[in-house]
Symmetry: C2
Subunit: 405 residues, 2 copies
């Protein structure tokens, strides 16, 4: 069984909006054993939507159409489907009442235009939308099942997960299973991984991909087989090989993040952390606080951006210059003491665009203070200002993770 995705909307063609719905659907459908074989974007032009939909129903067994279900004149997906089905539109008054009620809850009167969102081609089914005003539409067309869903990414994802995938899963011809697994690695360059995993990269099942980003690398495996338990075994084997070769370079599997893993380790050990930052200016603290419940272990931090503020607020020794091992080490020790935390991280770096006092762009120093000692690492990070700052927070979190292991 194969799927085709159709995105409707001028904004997808004019560059206003990146079509993240297509990749969301591609990923979820693949995991459900229904690969997307083509994805098409078309503008808000009824004739064009009709043409693209007709082709889509020829190429795919399932067609997911996103967008064009809003209340305005521009929204033509309903009309295009009705034309292909050679039927008229009918209005579901119960759905219109629901939409009216949704507006009332926000103390607003429903604009009359929104009544149109209760319309659907005769003989098709409306798909309820718990998250917005536009219901989806399910139709059968030329032997394909067509699901038209809203273009708003959050609503689209909910409708795919809650309604469409279960509906597809009920079909007897979805036999082949596809399972994916991501092994998350940090602290190793991509080129080394490529050299170490040439054998897995060439394997057909599971297929492997390297996904680098932000100083981390995910190894993604996609296994396929008629029997889902075979898929799981293939993935288990691949994961075991990766863990054996990379040991502590692997920090997690699946949807987790480095900050969540480090946070969990701190919580398990009953430890607290504080941070002192210069160039990253709060990014490390904010990243630790991205995890709900971070208040269990994050005490806080200091951003010493101006050089003299490092001295006045943190009382550090600047004699080797602001981006130096001595200053960074002092920052970690100072913030640990001021916030009475068990461990503390400090980052200084030259993020650019220009060198600072002769220290080249990319120079990054990370210090970790704990009860026994202060450890310091010096790196030279590649990339632009945003990448250097992002990489620096990743390396700092990883230094803490390796210490806690």
């Amino acid at each position: 069984m194969k799927a085709v995705v159709v995105g409707v909307g001028d904004e997808l063609l004019s560059g206003l909006v990146v079509n993240t719905n297509a990749s969301m659907i591609g990923e979820l459908f693949l995991a459900a054993g229904v690969p997307v074989v083509r994805s098409v974007c078309v503008g808000d032009v009824e004739d064009e939507i009709v043409e693209v939909l007709r082709d889509a129903c020829r190429s795919g067994d399932v067609v997911v159409v996103t967008g064009g279900l809003g209340p305005t004149q521009d929204d033509r997906t309903r009309e295009a489907m009705a034309r292909l089905l050679e039927v008229g539109l009918v209005r579901d008054e119960a759905v219109v009442d629901d939409i009216r009620e949704r507006f009332r809850r926000f103390s607003r009167e429903m604009p009359e235009a929104n009544a149109k969102q209760g319309d659907h081609p005769e003989g098709t089914t409306l798909i309820p939308n718990a998250w917005g005003t536009a219901p989806g539409i399910r139709a059968e067309l030329d032997g394909a099942i067509v699901y038209a869903i809203p273009g708003v990414p959050g609503e689209a994802r909910r409708m795919v997960v809650d309604q469409i995938l279960p509906d597809i899963g009920r079909r007897p011809d979805v036999a082949a299973s596809i399972r994916t697994r991501e092994v998350r690695c940090v602290g190793v360059p991509e080129s080394s991984l490529a050299d170490m995993f040439g054998d897995l990269a060439e394997a057909e099942n599971p297929k492997m991909a390297f996904l680098p980003g932000g100083g981390e690398i995910r190894l993604r495996f996609v296994a396929s087989d008629d029997d889902p338990s075979v898929c799981e075994r293939l993935l288990d084997d691949a994961e075991a090989i990766v863990r054996e070769r990379l040991a502590e370079v692997v920090y997690g599997v699946g949807d987790t993040t480095l900050e969540a893993v480090v946070g969990g380790m701190l919580r398990d050990r009953g430890l607290t952390v504080a941070v002192a930052e210069s160039c990253t200016a709060g990014m490390l603290a904010a990243r630790i606080a991205n995890v709900p419940g971070a208040s269990d272990y994050l005490r806080g931090g200091v951003v010493g951006y101006a050089t003299d503020a490092k001295a006045s607020v943190l009382g550090v020794d600047l004699s080797d210059g602001p981006v130096s091992q001595r200053t960074t080490s002092d920052m970690a020790a100072s913030v640990r003491s001021r916030f009475a935390s068990d461990v503390a991280l400090a980052i200084t770096c030259v993020a650019g665009p220009d060198p600072q006092d002769g220290v080249p762009v990319g120079t990054t120093i990370i210090a970790l203070a704990h009860a026994d000692n202060v450890e310091v690492r010096e790196l030279r990070l590649p990339g632009d200002r945003a990448q250097i700052r992002q990489f620096a927070t990743t390396f700092a979190l990883n230094l803490l993770r390796l210490h806690l292991l």
Copy 2:
């Protein structure tokens, strides 16, 4: 003249990679007067690429193909083009030498597979790639011009800007001009804007779109006319209407950011800023530091995440609770004094997922301390944890902007 974009690669269909090339091309081509009317993604299957390319040449006068030009067996764009043109592939040895030389510069030997990147269908032209190993290919097919370019976003953008747009601009039939302008607004709900600009939203030229995100709204205008100076006049008129109705809600035009605008105001007035953060945990400081040169005005900040750290590090009065006007106001005054800054911002909020000591999720308090006074604002922000924290930093920056105006 109309364009069609074709993205080649399994990774675009499986959700591994979001097709940002399509929106990049959509935006740049629209600005050059050549709207993209359809965008298609297809996998690494030669037959499918041939079929999609054939259709694309029927729908568009210009076709831009991204991806499938790499050195591996999976890369089939060259072969698909040759089949459509009914010619063979020829190898440009000078290009192969360039690729070999590029590897040598990185102290590596060129893998023999890369020689394939010098291949192109007979009768077509190679487009030099200064940023990577894969040259592009220019072909004429069925009356359309086809440009095949690499899928790596940075290389794709450079090739579009440096080679393809100038090539298209030389064609006599690209007469109509299209110009865009974005007016950036902050501090007003989208629904109010929709009510205030019903007239502009219905106008055909320039076309207007509301682009909300992160607590800000961009009003995007797209003007078209044969005469570019007419486009500019239409955009000037629209911008003047927006500025007249919204006054200080407009903070900038074009590519700028709120933090860059606020930073520029601080620099112009010779003022410095410090920040104290709780729930945002460094996001505000990091956002101010996103702007190169922020060291001219950002002194630093304190993240008081644990409640008692607010008291011990910042010495604030917690008697009304950690998320209260009194605590937030004290935080702003304290951090201003500790960092010896001219102005200071403080944020406390309940970002969720759970209420804190009976204070509901979304409650956000922002304080601005300056020489005369501390101003405090209390808001109830919508959204999830990430949105609330993002919105809070936007409102804090806007409070400072309005003070500086």
